[in-house]
């Protein structure tokens, strides 16, 4: 393929709320332009991981190059960038958007604009994107395209009068989308003769080709055999392969300014690449790296332990392998009195945590226990030493601590006016400090400073639920502030379970303690004896629940013909017991360790 002039390239992202049809539209665009043979077509082509397909979310940025012969008779190169949509991956999204000039905003014609869309739309606007509104599912009886158009205008402030009305499912008006991309989105700018300046948009590990790097060429040319420098990490590599995804990898000789593609360069680990880094020519370097770079920083930590202690080595191998493909995930060995050997792992957020846990269980066939997520606390001890605490279980004696500080974030929440009251209450309950409140039309934009430990767990879920999904949320870490934090222990049958210890603010302890005890009461199955569940600070019990003893669990009839069936049930029971952890005399299901922290308030 010869390089196209810039005027014949369009780089675009698709922004959509979950279920509004992003992946289906992507599939149709790929199909219509013939990038994938019909027989290779399966749903959600770009979501390559099982988890992505199942949950309908995109975790890794994906790209596909489409060749489209437009009505004007010219053939255009369209680069579709599929981006993750969750706040955990906000930085990755921002880089993907920075690599495009325009976005398609896909809105379900009956549901209208929803929260997840907004944060990404605003990001796209921040990145100076031209945005084409697309109304999907217009073929459904409940579709109200006119109402949704005026909503797009009111809520987002985008002119929706010439929104493209489609049905991605039936393929209705996909041509209209392609024409709009060509006619309404701007071509990339860039100087092919300037020194190479390319953005590292994402990277992943391919079992055959090693680390693959998704790049957007801003200026210059990236060629096979070239020595390139990663400006942030300082590493220098020789480019081995240059190509683009269709979505299958197609090799070519070079990528020029304005183009999107992939390279390989004998990079050992994904961890050696930094999303947002600037790639330049080692011999002819660009003067300035691209703005907006942020190193990947885990903000949530939790312990991962094998259910069966014998699987520890398998877990070690598995986390090592996953890390090859996900640099934002970190780990170090940990031992727990209750859970044995495992790893303390760092994540971008809770969704990231759940995804990693699920991938470890699924792709590596491991049964895991995840402990309560925690943030990094900084402590000054009475002897003057400063320590960082990643794990509440490691908290020193209270008498040895002179000061504890915790990370705070600056959060921006956008919401329709109707939900503002509930959202302000949520932020207040979570020790938030209001910084700003302003309006854009009927939408409130509120800024809060919040302790990360109040947000890390279920804040996002709560926000979504109280705003019926309309509020959007974005945050960045701001600073560390001193806090009156205490270690809350959970005692099950009078024995402390270290994996359930959390650091909480003294003012929140009772509420959290009560919520955790109530949760655990439902999560731990009845035993043959009564089980007290207590939350305690120091020696003081602040909340208590009791699981009553099991009273009936027996088959009324069991004769000669029943034993085979009953034995099979017993096999299942024995299998189920493997997913339980023994604490003293109590068996706790592994999912309880995370579920106990989710609050329904």
């Amino acid at each position: 393929m010869t390089t196209k002039p810039l005027s014949h390239i369009r780089n675009f992202a698709i922004i959509a709320h979950i279920d509004h049809g992003k992946s289906t539209l992507a599939d149709r665009l790929i199909q219509t332009t013939g990038a994938v043979a019909q027989r290779d077509m399966k749903d959600q082509i770009l979501d390559s991981m099982d988890i992505e397909r199942e949950r309908g979310i995109t975790i890794k940025a994906q790209t596909v190059r489409l060749a489209y012969k437009a009505e004007d008779g010219e053939t255009y190169t369209l680069n579709l960038m599929d981006t993750p949509g969750h706040v955990d991956f906000a930085y990755e999204v921002s880089r993907s958007l920075a690599a495009c000039e325009g976005s398609l905003l896909v809105v379900d014609a009956s549901q209208g604009v929803e929260a997840q869309t907004l944060a990404n739309v605003y990001q796209a606007i921040d990145n100076n994107h031209e945005i084409v509104p697309i109304l999907n599912k217009v073929d459904l009886p409940a579709a109200e395209p006119e109402r949704v158009k005026s909503q797009i205008e009111d809520v987002i402030g985008l002119d929706a009068s010439d929104a493209v009305e489609i049905s991605a499912k039936t393929g209705l008006n996909i041509e209209g989308v392609l024409e709009a991309i060509v006619k309404r989105l701007p071509p990339p700018k860039g100087d092919p003769d300037a020194p190479l300046k390319a953005m590292l948009v994402d990277s992943w590990y391919d079992a055959y080709l090693g680390v693959m790097v998704l790049v957007r060429i801003i200026d210059g040319v990236l060629q096979k055999g070239m020595k390139v420098r990663m400006m942030r990490t300082g590493a220098v590599y020789e480019v081995e392969r240059v190509g683009y995804m269709t979505p299958k990898l197609e090799l070519c000789d070079k990528l020029e300014a304005g183009e999107v593609g992939v390279i390989t360069a004998s990079i050992k680990e994904v961890a050696d690449t930094a999303v947002g880094d600037t790639i330049t020519d080692e011999r002819r370097q660009t003067a300035e790296p691209l703005p907006g770079f942020r190193p990947a920083q885990p903000v949530v930590f939790c312990g991962l332990f094998p259910v069966d202690a014998a699987d520890f080595e398998d877990l070690r191998a598995a986390v090592g392998k996953l890390r090859l493909n996900d640099a934002s995930f970190s780990f170090e060995m940990e031992t727990s009195a209750a859970l044995g050997f495992g790893f303390r792992c760092g994540f971008l957020g809770l969704l990231h945590l759940e995804i990693i846990q699920e991938r470890l269980e699924r792709e590596f066939n491991l049964d895991l226990i995840a402990t309560a997520p925690s943030v990094i606390y900084k402590m000054t001890l009475t002897d003057g030493t400063e320590i960082e605490l990643h794990n509440p279980a490691d908290m020193p004696e209270v008498t040895r601590i002179s000061e504890i500080s915790e990370p705070w974030i600056r959060a921006s929440i956008m919401t329709p006016d109707d939900y503002l009251g509930a959202i302000l209450k949520l932020c207040q309950d979570r020790r938030g400090i209001q910084i700003d409140l302003s309006y854009v039309g009927s939408r409130a934009i509120v800024q809060y400073d919040l302790p990360l430990n109040e947000v890390v767990f279920d804040f996002y879920d709560r926000l979504k639920s109280i705003s019926k999904g309309y509020a959007s949320f974005d945050y960045h870490l701001s600073d560390y502030r001193e806090g009156d934090l205490v270690k809350m222990q959970i005692l099950v049958n009078a024995e402390p379970v270290d994996a359930l210890s959390v650091l909480v603010h003294r003012s929140q302890a009772e509420r959290r303690g009560r919520a955790m005890c109530e949760k655990l009461k439902d999560l731990i199955p009845q035993h043959m004896f009564q089980i007290p569940i207590q939350a305690a600070i120091g020696g003081k019990i602040i909340a208590r629940e009791t699981i009553r003893a099991l009273r009936k669990d027996v088959l009324a009839k069991c004769y000669g013909g029943d034993v085979t069936r009953k034995r099979k049930l017993l096999d299942k029971q024995k299998e189920g017991k493997k997913r339980l952890r023994q604490f003293g005399k109590v068996e706790i299901p592994q999912e309880a360790f995370i579920a106990a922290l989710k609050m329904d308030d």
Binding site: M528, L550, R551, K552, G560, V563, R567
Partner: protein
């Protein structure tokens, strides 16, 4: 699958479980009507039952199983169903004759027939007795007409009482079944009903709590919220009451749901619970045949559908469609599942021989501490009355 394929590898042991006994179970798969709570292998054939065809097939079925279990002495025969009292007495006689022609039947063998208390069936009691049946098990189920109707039974209390009377005169041993923990059943109502039942002087009572079984009419009602059974606490209270009342009246439980006067226990059912040897004949029947050397037990499962069963026997000489060799931990699990249902408990040494594993002493000691299990001086392990009602949890603990 031919007999050669399925059963060819089977090496018959010289003897099975002579200390426990050897039982023959015969399944009669037909009922006049399907009860809404029942998930047994029973079928209604409005156009009539091919009783002759059943007997013909049974002749070959008995012969095939007898070849696998030579030199056994039959200590019990159980004719279950279904409703075996739909069978003509001559047919029962023929079945017992066939059993006697292939195996030795011990002089004191227990021969049980399950019967329903409708008047038609009661007329045959004397015939069954003449044919050799010495123990009748009557499906009474309830002693009030409203509940009998709810349970889908075809008899009323009056018929039940007459059948009990007749059965007591006719058979040396008598048992009957009651289903309790019915919707809205109070402790008082059940106590009165149970006391009345005990007054009928049977030597054996099977007292089952109503269980919602999958694929039954009751399951559908239950799922739709139209049938509410007592919760675990109410069920446990009813169970405790049952133990107390029946025990005080000289019918203590010897198994989870079975009560007997001393010596009145069902010998055939004890064979199952003691994990002895039995053959299962007829549609859907299961057997456990002790094999030679150390090859454990052979589990046999027969074709369930009555017509398919007949066809299969005609074609291959037997109806076994599935076999499994059971030894080691699996055999241990079966022994626990069955044995711990009995008040007498299990012999830990036998469990160890059969399963090749030992109980975890810490588990046993926990279970003892919680009052679920007792270890007897002779090494037997048994559940306490409290442990019996949470038996599935106790077994899962011991088997894990």
């Amino acid at each position: 699958m031919s007999e050669r394929d399925l059963l060819s590898g089977v090496e018959a042991a010289i003897e099975g479980t002579p200390d426990i006994g050897f039982g023959v179970y015969i399944h009669w798969p037909f009922c006049a009507r399907k009860c809404p709570y029942c998930d047994f292998n029973s079928h209604v054939r409005p156009k009539g039952i091919d009783e002759a065809g059943y007997l013909q097939a049974m002749e070959r079925e008995i012969a095939a199983h007898a070849r696998l279990t030579p030199n056994r002495t039959v200590t019990s025969v159980f004719l279950g169903g279904g409703t075996p009292s739909l069978m003509k007495p001559e047919s029962v006689g023929r079945l017992l004759e066939l059993i006697g022609s292939h195996w030795q039947i011990s002089a004191d063998a227990e021969i049980t027939l399950e019967a329903n208390p409708s008047s038609v069936e009661a007329e045959r009691f004397r015939g069954y007795r003449s044919a050799g049946v010495n123990r009748l098990s009557l499906g009474v189920q309830a002693l009030n007409d409203a509940d009998l109707k709810f349970l889908g039974r075809l008899h009323n209390v009056g018929e039940a009482l007459r059948a009990l009377e007749l059965a007591r005169e006719t058979f040396p041993r008598l048992s009957f079944d009651l289903i309790y923990a019915r919707p809205d059943q109070s402790l008082e109502a059940w106590e009165a009903e149970l006391r009345r039942a005990i007054g009928f002087a049977a030597d054996h009572l099977s007292l089952y709590q109503l269980t919602i079984e999958p694929d039954t009419a009751f399951e559908k009602l239950h799922a739709a919220g139209k049938l509410v059974v007592p919760d675990a606490d109410a069920a446990a209270d009813l169970y405790e009451l049952t133990q107390a009342v029946a025990g005080a009246a000289g019918l203590p439980a010897y198994e989870i749901s079975n009560h007997a006067t001393p010596g009145g226990e069902s010998r055939h059912n004890l064979l199952y619970w003691r994990y002895g040897e039995y053959v299962g004949l007829g549609p859907g029947a299961h057997g456990r045949i002790v094999q030679g050397d150390d090859r454990g037990r052979l589990a046999t499962i027969a074709e369930r559908n009555p017509e398919a069963w007949m066809k299969r026997v005609a074609e291959t000489g037997h109806s076994v469609i599935e076999t499994e060799e059971i030894f080691g931990e699996t055999a241990g699990d079966e022994m626990l599942l069955m044995g711990l249902r009995l008040v007498e408990g299990i012999d830990a040494a036998r469990y160890q021989r059969l399963s090749g594993r030992r109980f975890d002493p810490a588990r046993i000691s926990d279970l003892v501490t919680h009052g679920m299990v007792e270890v007897l001086p002779d090494g037997r392990i048994r559940t306490t009355p409290a442990g019996a009602f949470v038996l599935d949890a106790v077994v899962a603990d011991l088997a894990a």
